[in-house]
Subunit: 207 residues, 2 copies
């Protein structure tokens, strides 16, 4: 098997779109979630993110990475209102979800132009995605600006979880397979999944 | 369809393992990567992480979240040596990879007890996983400790990428499907994937 090695000087001089593809793909399969926000005058915003991550269970925290420019509306709205929602993307809506990454003009809500409905809960000021099966409402807890490239790590505390009851297993697991949640590779390749195995809590062998 | 809503007061009082499962599962499918490190006296460490993320392409940066206690060896070694490796997990090694999450004693290398080989490159002081098909060497760029729960965001700059040449597409994408890379749900459920579609760069419609 032929091996390819890229060293830093070569990485730095790669053609831009080649480098973007290469580096974006290195981490492997990522989650696909829609982040919903609203600004102080009531204009909603919706954007797909592949960087939503678990931060902690107690307190219940989730986070995501916002790029310096591209995801400005999402970040500005969160800074203005202190609220955002995370909505799982499933097979029936992944094309609509992807379309939210287009650069719509200020004042245009992706909810109106990408074929996704919104709904509000009395517990969270940010809009949820009507079609999503797993919806999480959060309040801004922390924000860090990375010195290396100006990206932002946004951390929110979970204030509300809304999901179909049938997606909850008896031990608290969320059945994303049943929900037909999808996973994304790089910026644009969407995948469904198949269970390989659920493994027991790993222990040091006694032998 | 019956809907279940969890509000913050209920989330805070959930039984601990139920809450851990629930909150860990909310973000959906995550990447599965092994992080390899070595300490200043030459003892190697290997641990599976589901939080490896893309941070930026120029400079080429990747990051991950390390929990306050559980992932102490990885973090300490990175602080000591400034180096770590990220190694993609594929179908043939996911059980070995999962086993690295057991709490081995100080001085025991997961490379020795989990059935995974190590290899070194002259460009990176941290060990790579021999069996992995996509290996990335990094130097520590930044580290942030989150005020909310003491977790650490570790950001590294990519200094080396080693992969099978056949996994690289002509436009720089990494073919994780061909590599049989896997994705993980929560802490313990591993999935293979199937392509649903690769979508074009989203544009604002002209209509």
């Amino acid at each position: 098997l032929k091996t390819k090695i890229f060293l830093r000087p070569e990485i730095q001089t790669l053609e831009k779109s080649y480098r973007t593809n290469l580096i974006n793909g290195l981490s492997g399969f990522q989650s696909a979630n829609l982040i919903g926000t609203i600004n102080s005058v009531g204009i909603t915003n919706l954007a797909i993110f592949n960087s939503v991550m678990h931060i902690g269970a107690d307190p219940a925290l989730m986070g995501f990475i916002a790029r310096p420019s591209a995801e400005l509306h999402t970040l500005k709205n969160i800074q203005e209102t202190g609220a955002f929602t995370i909505n799982a993307v499933h097979e029936s809506i992944f094309k609509n979800a992807h379309q939210t990454s287009a650069r719509y003009a200020n004042g245009v809500s992706e909810f109106d132009v990408c074929g996704l409905g919104h709904e509000f809960s009395k517990n969270c000021t940010a809009p949820y995605v009507l079609e999503s099966r797993i919806k999480i409402g959060l309040t801004l807890a922390e924000e860090y600006t990375l010195k290396s490239n100006g990206c932002h790590l946004v951390v929110g505390e979970i204030i509300e979880i809304i999901l179909e009851e049938s997606l909850l297993t008896i031990d608290g697991n969320v059945d994303h397979k049943k929900a037909k949640s999808i996973t994304v590779l790089g910026l644009d390749e969407y995948h469904s999944t198949q269970v390989l195995g659920k493994l027991a809590y790993a222990k040091v062998s006694e032998s």
